[in-house]
């Protein structure tokens, strides 16, 4: 294997790699083999390799097995990427509107801005002209009434004693349109075990003033509709 020039009659120069080739069983030029046998500088290397060879014969680990074929790994990788993307899409989707307020009595009421279905928090201001949807699922058979109650006692009754079964979704027909009222105002939802007429409901609502929030409890759900400045407004 050696390509080093050497004079006639001189053994070709040999190095460790020539020795390694010989020990690996490579076919070598007879002249090179003779040179290796006469190379004292390689004797320590030969001993070192012999020692390692003995260790290798006793302790070498098994020949590694290749992994799955490339096409299989590519397919697996693509599948993993797709699964990851699907999981991300699932988690990044806007959450379904959660019940924002839960009255004692375990009736959940959903109050949702209709544009974009964004849930409104209890203290989040609403804007004049904004439209809200109201829905709930009573735990027990109930008669549902929905009204807005203003500080001065004026009442707008939107639904009167609508019978709703347990676990059945009640939805306020149409939309709740907020006007330009500037004083305090509350949305009140009654879920009662018996139907009330308009006058009875209004009387019940007047009992809630001046602070309807304090009366929240079984069968009565309230939230103050805090007005805020419209975006870009003064």
């Amino acid at each position: 294997m050696s390509r080093y020039p050497h004079g006639p009659g001189e053994p070709p120069p040999v190095d460790e790699f020539d020795l390694e080739l010989q020990l690996a069983g490579a076919e070598l030029d007879p002249e090179l083999i003779r040179a290796l046998e006469q190379a004292p500088h390689l004797a320590p290397v030969r001993d070192e390799i012999a020692t390692l060879e003995g260790w290798w014969a006793r302790h070498r680990p098994p020949l590694p097995r290749p992994g799955p074929p490339v096409w299989w790994r590519v397919g697996l990788g693509a599948g993993a990427v797709l699964a990851l993307a699907a999981a991300l899409l699932l988690f990044l989707q806007p959450p379904a509107p959660e019940p924002m307020f839960r009255a004692r009595g375990a009736t959940a009421v959903d109050l949702v801005r209709l544009q974009g279905s964004v849930p409104i928090g209890p203290s989040e201001p609403v804007q004049d002209g904004e439209q809200l949807s109201v829905s709930l699922i009573p735990d027990e058979p109930s008669y549902v009434s929905v009204a807005t109650l203003q500080r001065d006692g004026r009442i707008s009754l939107h639904v009167t004693s609508a019978p709703t079964g347990a676990g059945e979704r009640f939805e306020l027909p149409g939309r709740l349109l907020l006007d330009g009222y500037r004083d305090r105002e509350w949305l009140v939802v009654l879920t009662l075990d018996q139907p009330l007429d308009r006058a009875e409901i209004e009387a019940r609502l007047h009992e809630l003033l001046p602070e309807p929030s304090l009366h929240r409890g079984p069968g009565i759900w309230t939230v103050e509709l805090t007005r805020g400045r419209p975006p870009g407004g003064r």
């Binding site: 294997m1 390509r3 080093y4 190095d15 460790e16 790699f17 390694e20 080739l21 020990l23 690996a24 069983g25 490579a26 076919e27 070192e48 390799i49 390692l52 060879e53 260790w55 290798w56 014969a57 070498r60 680990p61 020949l63 590694p64 097995r65 290749p66």
Partner: protein, 169 residues
């Protein structure tokens, strides 16, 4: 006719210790060296290189193993530790006016930084394995001139890095 895997198995059994020795010389850690050997033979299985002769197989194995060792040195951020193990060998090389500087592993590590794979491989083969330029060229599959340039670059980097240190000393 023996299968390819059985042929490689025989090659592994008969030459693995030679590859291991070379990996040990670079990595100076038996576990890491064994990993490099296993990886090298794994590549032999995967890439289905032709086993035309033992000589060619050894060249391929050494080339692949040295590249793997180089990758391990670079990738595992313990290059300076590895170079530190070799500072005596490196210091023993006749690089004018830089022998003392070679004792400083930081300099060697910095000198290797930014060198291409071929050039860094040549540094391993010549300074750590002790091969001549011709042999390194044969194993790395590059020209002797390229080996010479790579060594010159390495040595120039060492000198440049050593100069400020010598000035301070």
């Amino acid at each position: 006719m023996p299968s390819r895997r059985s042929e490689l198995g025989r090659l592994y059994a008969e030459t693995g210790h030679l590859v291991l020795r070379r990996c040990l010389q670079i990595l100076q850690n038996s576990e890491e060296a064994m990993d490099a050997v296993q990886w090298t033979f794994m590549r032999a299985i995967e890439t289905s290189f032709e086993l035309r002769s033992r000589g060619e197989a050894m060249v391929w194995l050494y080339r692949t193993a040295s590249r793997r060792c180089l990758w391990m040195m670079r990738n595992t951020s313990h290059r300076s530790r590895i170079v530190d193990r070799h500072r005596d060998e490196l210091a023993g090389r006749p690089i004018p006016a830089t022998e003392e500087s070679l004792m400083r592993r930081e300099l060697v590590a910095r000198a290797l930084e930014g060198m291409g794979d071929d050039a860094a491989q040549v540094v391993l083969m010549t300074y750590i394995w002790g091969y001549t330029n011709q042999r390194a060229a044969q194993l790395a599959g590059i020209s002797v001139r390229t080996v010479g340039r790579a060594r010159a670059t390495f040595e120039a980097r060492l000198r440049a890095l050593a100069a400020p240190e010598e000035a301070q000393g």
